[in-house]
């Protein structure tokens, strides 16, 4: 009974997957996108970039949720955060995840950068991905800076004020930058509105396409520094895939109607590393 239901479910999922693959090629793309050969030794350090991506995704999701209750006005910003933390269902959890994943994000980005730096992952042909990564780092710092003020408590307020005063030392544009951020020549309602707009729309809208570009460049060149090691391993992978394909053809099966294991081609683990 259970076995039959399972095989029916497998058939259905195979049908859906094949249908999608046939029309959009999405499965092949996903496989190309998700599977990456990495050296066996120290494979875990290659997960740091994914960890950054995961934490940023958490930021987006919890940030959207927080927006349902947060109010960016000087008379109610602190009140609304207080409401989230004390009255809203799971408010502590949602804001806690936003707060802690932001903190961890800074640490994980540092580790990710260190890993890329010490493994030489920034060398040709990956220089541009390093550049994009640095821009992403600056955007995340901007997000952390602007998010701090939104709580509108003493801690966040003074940290932002001191941060802006540090910025005022910039040559030539220091004053104008401060006036742009403050929304005038003093901290007030305009400052909170501006930081809110920058934190919630401007920087997330800038960071999202750059993450896409970062991932595209990553997939184009692979994750790690040593070119020969990479090509060798990739050649090996293609060789095994080819041999498997041959052996299947020799057994007389149509490779596109290969359903021996009832999981379909896309479900088999043989073709993957």
């Amino acid at each position: 009974m259970i076995g039959r239901a399972r095989s029916q479910a497998a058939d259905a999922s195979k049908f859906v997957v094949d249908w999608m693959e046939h029309r959009t090629g999405v499965v092949t793309h996903m496989e190309h996108f998700l599977y990456e050969p990495v050296p066996k030794r120290g494979a875990w350090v290659y997960t740091l970039g994914s960890a950054c991506l995961f934490l940023i995704a958490l930021q987006f999701l919890t940030g959207i949720l927080l927006l349902f209750y947060y109010v960016p006005t000087t008379d109610h910003a602190w009140d609304s955060v207080y409401y989230i933390m004390n009255d809203a269902y799971f408010g502590v959890l949602i804001r806690g995840i936003h707060y802690w994943s932001a903190n961890f994000l800074m640490a994980v980005i540092g580790m990710h950068m260190a890993q890329v730096f010490f493994s030489g992952g920034y060398k040709a042909p990956r220089e541009l991905n390093w550049v994009v990564g640095v821009v992403l780092l600056l955007l995340v710092i901007g997000l952390a800076f602007t998010g701090y003020l939104l709580r509108w408590d003493q801690d966040g307020f003074w940290a932002s004020v001191v941060g802006m005063k540090i910025g005022s030392y910039s040559p030539f544009i220091g004053g104008a930058t401060i006036h742009f951020l403050l929304g005038g020549d003093t901290v007030g309602p305009a400052t909170l509105s501006r930081f809110f707009a920058i934190h919630v729309w401007l920087l997330p809208a800038a960071i999202a396409p750059l993450i896409g570009l970062h991932l595209y460049l990553l997939r184009r060149h692979g994750v790690f520094g040593s070119e020969s090691e990479y090509t060798e391993r990739l050649a090996k992978l293609h060789e095994t895939q080819r041999l498997e394909e041959y052996s299947r053809l020799e057994m007389g099966d149509d490779p596109y109607d290969d359903d021996d294991d009832r999981y379909g081609d896309n479900g088999s683990r043989n073709g993957r590393e």
Partner: protein, 234 residues
């Protein structure tokens, strides 16, 4: 270069397209840029300020202690986006917001003092002696003398703007200490040590009324050579 010109363009067309492009580009970019940068335009180009220009009461001169500074808070009303009177007084019978939109600053008041350079202790305090007899009803010349001898200092550190506080060491020497990076100033706000690039900011517009109340206007002694404030003080 010649092979690039597959589609030859006349000089007139080139200029026409250039002009059209400029006009369309200006129409598309000027409104949003001016919209976002309006505070920069108002502050830096037109010289406007969000902070009220009027006098604000700080304290009575008799409240200033003899040999140490005392801090007082002042609030300058501000007019910034929806905090301005245009919005808040739109319907005078119905208040738009309960919030008092102000800039809250702390001021350190003290008597100008001579410092003994060996011990760092205060050697002489320039406190007018007539203060022992009266706390109000000062004449014109007395008010001038009071004004001359009072330090009106912003509590914003000249390094990065953290609030400074007055501390007295074990050996009895008093100093303003910034908690952030250890900037040090003496009782007159003169730079003593640490990262600050200058003395503490002084309020330049100070007046004392007959009843002994001290008033200030917002504004500091920014050095004339530097047209920019560094750091930015609000």
């Amino acid at each position: 270069m010649t092979e690039l010109q597959k589609d030859p363009i006349t000089r007139g067309d080139f200029l026409g397209f250039g002009l059209l492009g400029t006009v369309v580009g200006a129409i598309l970019t000027i409104p949003p840029v001016a919209f976002v940068l309006s505070p920069v335009i108002k502050t830096d180009l037109l010289g406007e300020s969000d902070i009220d220009e009027g006098w604000q009461e700080v304290a009575s001169v008799s409240d200033i202690p003899t040999d140490e500074p005392a801090s007082f808070t002042i609030e300058f009303p501000i007019e910034q986006i929806y905090a301005g009177p245009d919005v808040q007084n739109q319907f005078p019978d119905e208040k738009r917001s309960d919030e008092e939109f102000t800039l809250k600053n702390a001021v350190w008041l003290s008597w100008k003092s001579e410092i003994n350079h060996d011990t760092g202790k205060i050697a002489k305090v320039e406190r007018p002696s007539f203060l022992d007899e009266k706390s109000s009803g000062f004449s014109e010349s007395e008010r001038e003398e009071l004004k001359k001898n009072i330090n009106v200092l912003s509590n914003s550190c000249a390094h990065l703007g953290c609030p400074v506080r007055w501390l007295i060491n074990l050996d009895g020497k008093g100093e303003f200490l910034c908690p952030c990076h250890g900037g040090l100033y003496d009782i007159n706000g003169t730079y003593e040590g640490g990262p600050p690039p200058r003395d503490m900011y002084r309020y330049v517009n100070v007046k004392i009324e007959e009843d002994g109340k001290l008033y200030v206007k917002h504004g500091y002694d920014i050095e004339p050579g530097l047209d920019k404030q560094q750091p930015y003080v609000v």
